[in-house]
Amino acid sequence: MMFNKQYYPLILGMSLIVLFVILVIPLGGTSIMESIVSLAAIGVVIWLGQQFLLKTKMFLVQIESLKLDYKEQRDKASQCSKDAKDSKLQVKLLQRQKRNTEAIVYSISEAVIVTDANEHLLMANEAAGRLFGFDLKKSVYKPLDELIGKKELISLIVKTRNSRARHVKHELQFESEDNIYTYNCIISCIYDENNEVCGAIAVLHDMTKEKEISQMKNDFVSHVSHELKTPLASITAYSEMLVDGEAADEKMREEFYSIIQTQAQRLNCLIEDILNVSRIESGMIKINKEPVSTALLIHDAVQMIKSHAAEKGVTIEEQTAIVFDQVNADKEMISQVIINLLSNAVKYTHKGGKITVNSEIDESEDVVRVSITDTGVGIPPENLPHIFEKFYRVKKNAGIAKGTGLGLNLVKQIVEKVHQGRVFVRSQVGKGSCFGFELPLIVAEETVESDLVIRSK
């Protein structure tokens, strides 16, 4: 049996006392033994002292440990209180962030829908509410089925979420009473911290206008290509025939040259028309406005067209009595307007027909009104609203005469965009058409100013 070292002095002391009792007392050796007993007693006292010191030390250590624990607990309590404060602050911060996020989502012009993993609405903006016709405040956490009539969109959201794709793009069409709208729809998955899909966000961008513009661009390119290639085809073919000596005689060769020349001019006119429309649209055209008499411009234009009309058996009558500077206009441009309208009237009027050109002043509206009335084929009512559109041609009448579909658009651009006037058209199929325009009259002060400018020049 082993004893702990701390008990050695006690064992020694006790052993000496026992030895004294067994051996020395019977032999009578009292004084020596007394000393030994004294020593043993001292040893015991020392041991007891040692034990006391040891216990005291342990007690002090325990107190120190308790002190540390208390400090730790106090720190922890303080930390908890701080944490509680931080949490409150964080909640406030999160609420603010949520409000900011909502404000951002609401301000997006595209329709935005955010769903959870079960297709319940988490967030949407006004544009989405308008598009799908639901009330934002009453719709949160409701199933999409109840809110969105467009089932195709819901199935796309489900499909995207199941596929875990980051972004998927779709084109969706929405029909309303009066139009079909095309939306570009981007659906993105939302991932949680474990990279699991926990919802989806759909952004729908209305691209109806863009589609229309794109279609118009394609139509424009197609029209321009067709219009440019047609005269070019004649030029190429007749040139080849000349080069290959296919023309039988000099007369035929001259005819070929003439066709080439006419087609080249046609090409040039077309390019000029395209450029003029483009220049006016972009505001890049040089405009020289001055006081002009429309009556004089009409007279000049009629003289220019008259022989061509006579060849076709069409008569032109002028009804323009007043000759004075009525409008502040670009002479060349307004001449072009009158020539375009007159040549159209000649084109679509049969032999024996009549064209009447009239100009009158409407003092109640302060305008001069020019109208060109023919007894031609007329335009069906369904075509009239489009008649001034670029490259628009009345299919029914396209076979009667050649045209680029730019002439009337140019008329509209010059009258309305450059001169702040107005174009108009009335027509009856089989009876004829009346095309015309109004230009604002020069007011008295304006005339004086113009006179001064002219004199000072």
Partner: protein
């Protein structure tokens, strides 16, 4: 050798004239039309061996003319060459569905057109 008959349809009179002249100079009999409806009627009467038509014509387009011919007895297999000044070509599927033999973009070479007409008629005679 039997003279082959070609119908040329285009609303551009100069194109009709130049194509007709090139073909006539090379031994073909040519009939002309300046719109799709007239072209169809002339086809029914004249029964040409091949049709050369513009794509864009008033009344009836070149494609509509071919569609009508394909559904008319006797013209189900008539070879057709389409001339076009359009910016975009017709769909390949449509070309195959309507059995359009050749599709020439304007401006074209009359020589090239003549060679297509000759080759198509040769191959149709063999088959």
């Amino acid at each position: 050798m039997e003279t082959r008959k070609v119908l040329v349809a285009d609303d551009e009179i100069h194109i009709v004239q130049v194509v007709a002249m090139k073909l006539r100079n090379n031994g073909f009999e040519v009939i002309t039309a300046d719109n799709g409806i007239d072209a169809y009627d002339r086809c029914c009467v004249e029964k040409p061996d091949i049709v050369v038509t513009d794509y864009q014509m008033p009344g009836m387009t070149g494609i509509e003319l071919v569609e009508k011919l394909r559904s008319t007895e006797g013209f189900e297999d008539i070879p057709v060459i389409i001339l076009t000044a359009r910016g975009f070509a017709i769909e390949q599927d449509q070309q195959e569905d309507l059995n359009i033999a050749e599709y020439l973009s304007k401006p074209f070479s009359p020589k090239e057109l003549l060679s297509h007409v000759e080759n198509i008629l040769k191959s149709s005679a063999v088959s």
